[in-house]
Amino acid sequence: MLAALYVMAGIAIALGAMLGFFAIKFRVEGNPLVDKIDAVLPQTQCGQCGYPGCKPYATAIANGEADINRCPPGGEDGIRKLAELLGVEFKPFGEGTAQPKPKAVAFIDENICIGCTLCTQACPVDAISGAAKQMHTIIEPLCTGCELCVAPCPVDCISMEPLPQTIQGWKWQYPVFTLKQAA
């Protein structure tokens, strides 16, 4: 009787010690949910959601402070992915809030640029090259189209150019068949 008690108590203590040890050894740093949400977001860092970047927005969603329909660059597809990830209902973009736009990249009119460097300071992904009093240029493949450089420009030389449909970017469409009306 007593022996059985000792054995059970011993096992309980050993397992408890193991659990405690591994809880410390394999501790997860940070909130893994934030990283998962951040991976779904389009990383334009545009701030249209009202947060200063994708990571802060992801943190706000994880904390339950923000809705999932605040990210226009992600489109409805992005909301769907977030809804699936978080196990919540799909929510369309709210009226009066920022709506998704066709993809565009910034373009600097090089004749007007005065080289003030304000846009390079605003660019969240370092996609503008230039130095003080030198002409600035957008590095197009790196531009995420966040529009953050447009407002700071003192001479309004930055415009957003929609990306044209090219043969390289073309993809096969979903097969659609027109139905003929029976006579």
Partner: protein
Amino acid sequence: MRTLFRFHGGVHPPEHKLESSGLPSARAPLPGLLVLPLQQHIGAKPKTLVQAGDRVLKGQLLARAEGNLSAGIHAPTSGTVLSVGTRAVPHPSGMEDLCITIAPDGEDQWAQHAPFDYLAMPKEELLTRLRDGGIVGLGGATFPTHVKFAAAPVHTLVLNGAECEPWITTDDRLMRERAAEIVQGIEILRHLVNPAETVIGIEDNKPEAIAAMREACANTGIEVAVVPTLYPTGGEKQLVKILTGKEVPSGGRPFNIGVTCGNVATAYAVHRLVHHGEPMISRMVTVTGAVKTPQNFEVLLGTPISELVQLAGGALPGADGYILGGPMMGLHVGDDRLPIVKGTNCVIVKSPQLFPPQPPALPCIRCTRCAQACPADLQPQELYWFAKARDFGRAQEYNLFDCIECGACAYVCPSHIPLVQYYRYAKGEIWAREKEKNAADAARVRHEFRLERMERDKREKAEKLAQKEKAALAQSAQAAADPAPGGGAAQAPAATSEIIAAAAERARQHAAHAQPKNTGNLTPEQQAEIADIEARRAHIREIAHKPTESRPTESRPTESRKE
């Protein structure tokens, strides 16, 4: 005698080869206009070297290969470059792409070219010459040949002369007429990969080609294997399976199992380049279908379809379009101004009698006839359901990317479902999403690096400031500890001000001596341009300084409206 193996599935569409295989091939005359798309191969678009108005010679390099996975584009004849710009190209999108347009001058004058001794040069140089010579796989996929044959070690070299698609007879005619040249090309490819064995696979519906190749291959160690006629025997992976019994692993290439596969027409093009110095400027094309006299033509790249159709006696009444390639995998187009490119092996003129319109698709009845026909051992019906439901993850799990888009599944489908279209749609979506994901990941890395850099800058500045403060404190402490406070305290600031004055003097002198390097020796036009720019700048500065005055004038009307 080689033991042959079977691949899973396959179909037997009506062959329609005899229409065009009877007549010997002819050389197409110079067309009125040549349109050369820059993207004629898989890989990077080559870089244009000519501009409108340039006179070019036959065989001259027009666009240089950009990077390794690319190939050069050459002038098919001598003439004048009319334009370098976007034009309609043979592509499923029907969109325009960058093309070089040449007006031939009729002289057909060659640029300097000479054969070279491939045995005397390192293999790397031979590969570079294949790339610069614009040699790509002519079986239809147009994969750059130098990349394929850079692979080593290889124990079997497979030459593809199967030509399994209906209607097409270019390889058949080429093997019948130019067997010796093909074998010379194969010798060069053998030199590149040094295989233990070399086999040419030819379908048994081409007895003349088999006989010609057997004769040419006598005493060369090259084996001619006759394979049964079954679509898609000419698929790279399928032919490798038939001849070696080995299966190319999922997601892999024949190279992974020590096999390299090339088309017989590619071998011929390699021969022309090495033994005659002629780059890839022409190819054999079958013109067939609803035309008066179907025939094969040796065609300059860039020749419009319409001229070829005229050569074949013109289209028969009722013709309503063209297929570039074969009916199973080819590209359906309506525009007869589209040019022949490196990958165009056949032009079929369509008519409703030959190619009746596909009846409307009915629901899938899960008969799995597509699975029985699939040469890649896939489950086409499952892939179809996933693609239709846009469940791309599951489609990938079912090895969507091992689909070779041969069309055997759609051919046998009793519901006439355009299965391949669904697979292409799913593949395109998956690629696009992957690209977006990669772009987002790159943006995240750049953003995080930027945040880190700003943090680091701030930290370094703070550290510097702290150090300065510490130094100043130490100095003042020292000054306080100094036994002669009156003299010491007054001296230190004097020394600093002297240093500053000296530095300012140095800077002044430097500025006086320094000369901007790009302002000397200017032409009057450049000076005028500079003056113009300065004037513009002055104007902009004026505007930039004015906003306080201009804004109220703008807002005033709205205010008055409110009132």
